[in-house]
């Protein structure tokens, strides 16, 4: 595949003795929106967290196989540097409660001790908030605490915080599952817009969401990658029996 940004080959992940991700091989193309879906406990979130090595926060996590960002093996890059290249947005909006909206956006720089001039910071904040479609709503209240925003706004603030670091890839772990339908659709529109500049991988529990926004869909079942194809292809004529059952609602 051309334009591959992430390339997995026989990738496995364990927590202790629990084999969570089983021999996954897939290529994720650049500037695409890839959805990872599957029933709960199928290893989709763990797979996502393996891409920026967040799963290593659990002490008994280990992996095997190859996972490459461009040509570089992810597990040879220092996690601190890797995570600056691969941003992440979580299930529950988690702006830092002790910081203002402005400070939340530049939190990545502040946390990493990167010094910026006031003008640079202002630029980054405005640019990131515009890209996250939040600028118009918060430009007059940048000094207010981020936790005063609504859930959907907080989640867009978290997206702004992630893209402020100018990452290559943006990982989203069920970003709308804690939000109402209106906020959900605004985030979905935002994601479709964002894939021009970023490669987006989104884990979702919601098939309709995957069908609505993604270019490609990966279907995980019991830790295995059951099927990976163009989204349309997969939803119209799934090749795998398990995918078929899932899409037709025989289990969830």
């Amino acid at each position: 595949m051309e334009n591959t940004i992430i390339k997995c080959e026989n990738f496995n992940a364990w927590f202790g003795d629990n084999h969570v991700v089983k021999s996954v091989t897939m290529d994720i193309p650049k500037n695409n929106l890839t959805a990872v879906m599957g029933p709960s406990g199928c290893g989709k979130t763990t797979f996502l967290r393996c891409i920026n090595r967040m799963h290593e926060l659990a002490p008994d996590a280990r992996t095997e196989g190859s996972l490459k960002l461009y040509q570089d093996e992810v597990y040879d890059i220092h996690p601190i540097l890797l995570r600056q290249k691969i941003g992440m947005v979580f299930q529950h909006p988690n702006p830092f409660p002790n910081m203002s909206i402005y400070d939340n956006v530049v939190a990545g720089y502040k946390l990493n001790g990167i010094k910026l001039s006031k003008a640079e910071r202002d630029d980054i904040v405005e640019d990131s908030l515009r890209k996250a479609a939040l600028w118009m709503e918060v430009r007059d209240t940048l000094r207010k605490k981020g936790t005063f925003l609504s859930g959907g706004q907080q989640q867009r603030l978290c997206i702004a915080r992630a893209i402020a670091m100018k990452p290559e890839v943006l990982l989203l772990d069920e970003p709308t599952s804690a939000l109402d339908p209106v906020s959900t659709s605004s985030i979905e529109e935002l994601l479709i817009d964002l894939k021009k500049n970023y490669t987006i991988i989104i884990v979702t529990h919601n098939m309709q969401q995957a069908a609505r926004i993604s270019d490609r869909t990966a279907f995980f079942y019991m830790g295995e990658l059951a099927e990976y194809d163009h989204t349309k292809q997969m939803f119209i004529s799934p090749k795998d029996k398990r995918t078929q059952n899932y899409i037709t609602g025989r289990f969830s």
Binding site: A107, G108, R161
Partner: protein
């Protein structure tokens, strides 16, 4: 009546159950009543006890207050032979030793809180450290006093000779060092609990932006836990203010205003412990009790302040 008999006839099994249940009622209700009464009694008893402590202190310090008035608090001389009682040297001694102890202990207690709460919350080493810290709080203070006399005093004396001050060995610094060890557990275990409470999603947010562990602690954990850490420090200050035995043994028991931190001095608690048995005159005795009252008030205020910070914190 009729209806109930009908019911009983219709459902013979249920009749048996009801009978058993009704036989139980008087006992369970009685037990409930006694249980509640005994709890209320215990609660009221504690309140009365605390109020009685306060009243005793106030009543017995009236003679001293009548004789000395407010001068008691800032009088610089404590001379029982001439019936002159000024508590200022002891007030000063208490505050200096406590705050010095606090300053010495803070780096240790906060490091321990972060280590146990964030870095190594589990595992055998963490358990060992946790138990060791708890043991520090459980050691009787007279043992600290002994340790101070036999180990710390010679070291401080050596230090004093190097600095060229009078080598007493005993004094404000020695007392502060002992106190700093004794109060570590309070701030450390309180801090550990609060640090542990930092939400994982905030830490994950910081990690996902490429933070190191140090940066996560510095920018996420400490801002989140700071009021809890402060409350722990206040509680340990309360403990330092009131500590008696170990301090009495190593502070040097001088009623003069200490000229520097090496000089011997006295705290309010150590004066009371030292001089209570030899207090001859009624004003002397009453002055010691008034000292106790002041100490009681200061520690009460510190404790209330600490608790109110915890309360405000746990609401968030």
């Amino acid at each position: 009546m009729q209806i109930s008999t009908q019911k009983i006839i219709q459902q013979p099994e249920k009749r048996y159950k009801e009978k058993e249940f009704s036989a139980k009622i008087p006992f369970t209700i009685k037990r409930e009543r006694y249980f509640r009464k005994s709890l209320v009694l215990a609660a009221i008893g504690v309140i009365i006890l605390v109020m009685a402590f306060g009243c005793t202190l106030v009543v017995y310090s009236i003679p001293s207050f009548k004789a000395l008035g407010i001068h008691f608090l800032y009088g610089k001389t404590w001379d029982p032979v001439n019936n002159v009682f000024g508590a200022y040297p002891f007030l000063l001694g208490t505050l200096i030793t406590s705050f010095l102890a606090l300053i010495i202990s803070i780096p240790f207690s906060i490091s321990i809180a972060l280590f146990l709460g964030e870095y190594y919350p589990e595992g055998w080493f963490s358990n060992l450290l946790k138990n060791a810290i708890e043991l520090i709080a459980a050691i009787p203070s007279v043992i600290y006093g002994f340790w101070g006399l036999f180990v710390l005093v010679p070291i401080v004396r050596h230090l004093e000779m190097k600095f060229g001050v009078l080598p007493y060995g005993v004094g404000i610094l020695t007392a502060s060092l002992i106190l700093s060890v004794m109060i570590i557990p309070y701030a450390a275990s309180m801090g550990r609990e609060i640090v542990k409470m930092t939400p994982l999603r905030l830490k994950e947010a910081a990690y996902s932006l490429g933070s190191t562990r140090y940066e996560v602690i510095r920018h996420v954990v400490i801002p989140y836990a700071k009021s809890g850490l402060l409350a722990g420090i206040l509680l340990s200050l309360g403990r330092a203010l009131g500590e008696t035995m170990a301090v009495t043994m190593v502070i040097g028991n001088s009623s003069l205003i200490p000229k520097n931190i090496f000089a011997p001095g006295n705290t309010m608690a150590s004066v009371i412990a030292n001089e209570f048995t030899e207090a001859a005159g009624s004003v002397y005795l009453s002055a010691l009790i008034e000292l106790g009252l002041v100490l009681f008030l200061v520690t009460a205020i510190i404790n209330i302040a600490g608790k109110s910070i915890i309360k405000r914190f746990s609401k968030i």
